[in-house]
Amino acid sequence: MSTAKIDYKNIYYPPGGILIWILIFLELITFSAALIALAVYSRENPAAYHSSRLLLNSTYGAINTLFLLTSGFFMATSMHQLKAGNYDKSTFYLKLTMLGGVLFLILKAIEYSGKISHGLTIGYDTFFTFYWLLTLFHVIHVLVGMIILVSMYFSIKKKKENTSIEDAEAGATFWHMCDLIWLILFPVLYLIF
């Protein structure tokens, strides 16, 4: 495992690498633009958006927020352990990170099945079109993040020489990006209308 000292203060080397941060900004801008569009559409018929918003279970949303935040905490801890050369502890916290992701996906699946059984599908109204598109797009990010975490887990487990700390940081940064996206999705979709 390469643990060469990285100068994060260098403009080209933010933690995780410049490419992942460019990706993060593109993702955040995309989700922000979609949420702003949702807010603009809501002005046409605020009462309908309020009614639709009340059909969402904000408790599920809040619990999922806690799952992702806790998962992010374990991800950060796993990276600290990795940098300290504690591979076993790092993989242990990585497993807890993945558990957070799995719990998030299970609760999301329960939420989705409830919505589908009540007929609240993508074509129900404009609010639910946004809800399905944005949350499913986020779920895809979480699934990709899970694949990256599994790959990181086996890479650290085998202590592969070609796995650099920068690669691991990039994977961790991608996982944190899922938190960031959820932190802007949750209040707008579940709470403010």
């Binding site: 922000s32 702003i36 809040a62 806690l66 950060a76 600290h80 932190l183 949750f186 709470l191």
Partner: protein, 80 residues
Amino acid sequence: MKRKDIYTLGVLFILTILTALFSNLENIKYVAFIILALSGIKFLFVAFQFMELKKAHALWKGLIIGLIVFFIGAISLIVQ
């Protein structure tokens, strides 16, 4: 485990609970802005502490702060 990360997680939990409490107060003016602002603070805690953006060049810090401030401002202005 880093003590700062544990404190950060505690603050994030408290902010999430506060957000849930504020979302039940429908008759308060600017409730949408308060909810978004609390979420914005959580966003910055995750970015700066968990993603270690605090160690990065000022440009990256400025960009992430600018993005979240613009987002909260835009949504608040449209929804109010």
